[in-house]
């Protein structure tokens, strides 16, 4: 394979490689940024769910404390 790549015309491999790597890198970076944003959303949702669970448990405990009827 090295023989194949060594025969490449146009830009010398070192230079060309940098551009190709750059393009694929940009793609990866955008993907990872998207994942990071999704992760942040998920974190926020987890926090909200935790708060809501706490509220629901509190509600459940209240009628037991106050007895029957509202």
């Amino acid at each position: 394979m090295h023989a194949l790549l060594a025969g490449a015309p146009a830009l010398p491999l070192g230079e060309a490689g940098k551009y190709v790597a750059g393009a694929y890198l940009v793609f990866m970076v955008l993907l990872v940024i998207y994942v990071a944003i999704m992760a942040a959303k998920l974190q926020r949702m987890e926090r909200d769910l935790k708060d809501l669970a706490a509220i629901a448990e509190e509600r459940k405990a209240e009628p037991e404390r106050e007895g029957v009827g509202t």
Binding site: L5, A10, A16, G17, Y19, V20, A23, V26, D48, L52
Partner: protein
Amino acid sequence: MYGKGLRALSIATVVALATSLTLVFFYAPLDADQGFVQKIFYLHVPLSIVALVGFMVGAVFAILHLRSGERRWDAWSYVSIHMSVIFGVAVLITGAIWAKASWGHWWVWDEPTLVSFLIVFLMYATYYPFRYAIEDPERQGRYASVFAIVAGAFVPLNFMAVRMAQSLVHPRVFGTANGGLPGSMMLTFLVSLGAIGLLWITLVKLELTAKSASGQLKRLRRALDAPAPGGGSRIAPEVS
């Protein structure tokens, strides 16, 4: 339930992407004119095709939204366009890198597909301020669907006009994209196209799942009469 099948889809996407990368760097032969730089083509072109198809898909969902009045179609339309715009950023950056590597300039006006794509990108970039400027959520959804349909009709007209405006002397530099590709390159290209397409679908599904979960949270919050934290997107339609 939007999350169903998301795991299988993600696995399929990873496998497809890995296969595509392997083919690109270990199987596809070197291009006679452009050399190693041509490898960018296996990333840039599939991204652009998938982004454009995504815009069309957004228009189709918009039609469904207008005809049925169901809010979820608006969400599907929004996410499709949103994802295609993100893919569009990748198209333009990889296109610029390819242009610099091939021609020495970060931008060339000679490549009609790239120029057309820039114009389409500029068109869809106005989708966000457009949605943001319309306050009533129901009207926002309706108008956004009209925008998506108008923009969908605009895309092919734009490509046609730009292509025709190119001087007839200039050969299409990505002419190898359709005709004259050796079998091994074509295979690599098709696998890459499929992988990027799967990626788009997976990410759209992921986004819709996140929106749906967020919608369920709101629902739960309302059922518990819990105070809302305030905020929430002004432009992203809700999914519930």
